[in-house]
Symmetry: C2
Subunit: 528 residues, 2 copies
Amino acid sequence: MGWPADMLSGNRNLGLRMTDASSTRPQLKIRRINLDTGRENVVVMSRRSKALRPEVFRGFSRVGLRRDAKVLLATLLITDDGLVAPDELGLAEPAFRRFAEPAGSAVTVSPAPPPDSLDAVRAKIHGRALSAAEITAIVDDISHYRYSDMEIAAFLVGSASFMSSEELLALTQAMAEAGTMLKWDRPIVVDKHCIGGIPGNRTSMIVVPIVAAHGLMIPKTSSRAITSPAGTADTMEVLARVDLGVDEMKEVVTACHGCLVWGGHVNLSPADDILISVERPLFLDTREQMVASIMSKKLAAGSTHLLLDLPVGPAAKLASAMEAMRLRKLFEFVGDHFGIAVEVVTTDGRQPVGYGIGPVLEAQDVMAVLANDPAAAHDLREKSLRLAAHLLEYDPDLRGGSGYARAKQLLDSGAALKQMEKIIDAQGPSNARTELGPMTADIEAPHDGVVTAIDCLRLNRLARTAGAPIDKGAGIRVFKKIGDSVEQGEPLYRIHAFDVSEFDLAMAAIRIKSGYVVDGAAGHGKSV
Amino acid sequence: MGWPADMLSGNRNLGLRMTDASSTRPQLKIRRINLDTGRENVVVMSRRSKALRPEVFRGFSRVGLRRDAKVLLATLLITDDGLVAPDELGLAEPAFRRFAEPAGSAVTVSPAPPPDSLDAVRAKIHGRALSAAEITAIVDDISHYRYSDMEIAAFLVGSASFMSSEELLALTQAMAEAGTMLKWDRPIVVDKHCIGGIPGNRTSMIVVPIVAAHGLMIPKTSSRAITSPAGTADTMEVLARVDLGVDEMKEVVTACHGCLVWGGHVNLSPADDILISVERPLFLDTREQMVASIMSKKLAAGSTHLLLDLPVGPAAKLASAMEAMRLRKLFEFVGDHFGIAVEVVTTDGRQPVGYGIGPVLEAQDVMAVLANDPAAAHDLREKSLRLAAHLLEYDPDLRGGSGYARAKQLLDSGAALKQMEKIIDAQGPSNARTELGPMTADIEAPHDGVVTAIDCLRLNRLARTAGAPIDKGAGIRVFKKIGDSVEQGEPLYRIHAFDVSEFDLAMAAIRIKSGYVVDGAAGHGKSV
């Protein structure tokens, strides 16, 4: 029902002929501004700009940059002084990199309307289930940096109250397809994933070399820490380079059957990384968003068989077996739809796994297990063997029930260690600092007794406060676990830090709540 | 259940004694950065800063600035070059203004945890009703710029699905008390408010001088346009200064019984302005948020009697009398609680009121009515008289039913015009441009027929696209209204603009949809 063109009075009353209009639109020369603005595209314009009347724009409004067919949406900041000249447009680093045009190139700028897909976000906020096409449009806009932070937050919060099964599938698929889709020329490509929350739980770095030593393909991509003191990528980076591109990753996997790389550089499900960067500061964490996030990465990674580790414990992400069961169903539902064989194991999430919390401390734990060091963490070794056993049994040539024995054989014989060294060599050296934080303090038992509870969430926060994962050598070394008897003054754990202010903050936090419960002998009571 | 201090091993293992820690925290000198970042507090730090290891910080992370007891939360940008020296911290204009310390002052910077009240926002997202104390803490943090955009969006979207009556009252009160609370020494302080959506509906500028000429106190504060092409403050600014402070406003009201000022400078319910700045780009618009927004302003303005204008029409904010009824109940509920006598009138919201859409065009309409110009818009005059009649009857000395006659007398006699001139003089001259946009185009009827519908939303958008309210002389002059017969080629309305690109955009939009429905004579059909 468009208005016929002949309804317009043409140019009769026009102060300027319309055909002249677009050709007279002034242009600005782009200038690189050395400003790291994180995920956001930010541009800077002079208030005295001759190209556009800047009174049209307010700080933090959204604008579109155009050069030929190339368009970039960005957030606008306005300056009065010499930061940019009136005929220039400053592009902060991320915007400059994404626009990918040389400094001095001419661009036009115009106010950018919000992406059309925001209509669907508003519909979601008002309770309507979205179609696959609507979800695909939202994910496409998000992965192309067309959403502002507040728009992403609106989508996440609007979806947090309810997401239908169809919406979950559509979201998973759209997120996977928005980035690299890896293909492998093998019928079985295995993967493992832990939903996180348990300090020190660095099993992938033991499971991958075992499984790869057996000859199964396990191209593992991992995340960096989001809310924890170390992700597998952060810990692996203590030993080897992890920021491999797709081709480099493929070379490593071809040579070693497996790898341990950071997913961020491979561009698997990039929208997921953007969503997480908003979920994190808002502490949003819903089951559907977790499943879509993980399964989109696995779908994009080309996995055929996925083992999921769901730790259950009072301070873990899952507090009960019932919750774990419901989450398992959701993972299986999505796995079935996309043809990924999903196996779920629930594990003990009551306390840290291993002794170290923080990248360097965890890497020490991992290498001790692989080297069959008698002092290695027994729980980390056993859990890794159990998970590897499940994965090995995906090999059709392995007898049912023999996975554990095979895993143990590969570990005890040194084959797994040798495979890990091969993977480390193939990925190349990292330039991460590997020394432990020199500022330390031991947290001691207040009285004789038995450790009856450890607050995983608390230890994670303390290790982060002490500087992990940014300071790889910061974190916590755990001395006592649940069931251990302790004497008054005996160290429960040790804090490591590099930075005085972070050390202070961690110590202040420990004074409020250490994360340990020690039940005393008769008359001593209980301490936390 | 704090961990006893004696559980810490003291300084035995510390690389640095803890008592030294805070005194060694390095300081940065603040430097003013000429960057308009809108509402957000933004600071810039060098990646080579000696004060803090910048690897701890990422772009767009939140930091706290401290100088003695003064604290400011801000979003951090990082630079590699000479924008700020390593021992400096750049403060963008809004942050510099709010921190209010001279350039060169020493400050410390630390990573800022999210405000505690965000826990309540997360509870709200997960469906819990909030206590008054929780809502007060949220509003306090928002009005002190402690929330990022995405955190504000999370609160708004989380509240959009459900808000209890108690939450609504608590939100209204907390928002009112977060800013200036005006007090007047009169028992009756009247106010009027329209929920908006109808182009050209500038009745306040006629109602205020009528009511003030009668001697009732009507200290009117208005908003600038949010999504419309003109707010009352924008239109009044064509005639007089509107950015008066509290004391100036009180002087005008004492001298004239009334005023027409912008609420923004008086700092009434400042959290509301911040919430609106996030609601607007997200197009969030719930009943509860609307009522809390309006009633918090009226509560803060010290109004005792409030007349609410609720336009109903297919493209108005309220599409049916039923919707208007439900909204009325909500306004009355909140008014009763706070002792404000609320009266609600539903009005015709099917089409624009008056002829002008945009500040200058609307100001011309208003002055024509006040001057009893025979060519003045009849609908604007009648609606204003009707609203003024309701307000005048709050005067205990006026007989019931005589309000309309009194209003008409004050208008026809020129007393209202005289009062308006007095208010304009008292508020002082504005330096706004008052000429009409010189680029014009007439939109003509495509065939003979009768105008049967006008899309208010569409005309609002077209007038905004043409440059209103930023260009005060941009907008639309309406020639034909619903029920008018038109001949083919006869102008329906005229677009005014100053800027070629905006003129282009408006014309392109008109070609898609003009906003008018003309039902043709037999055989001509219908056009929109």
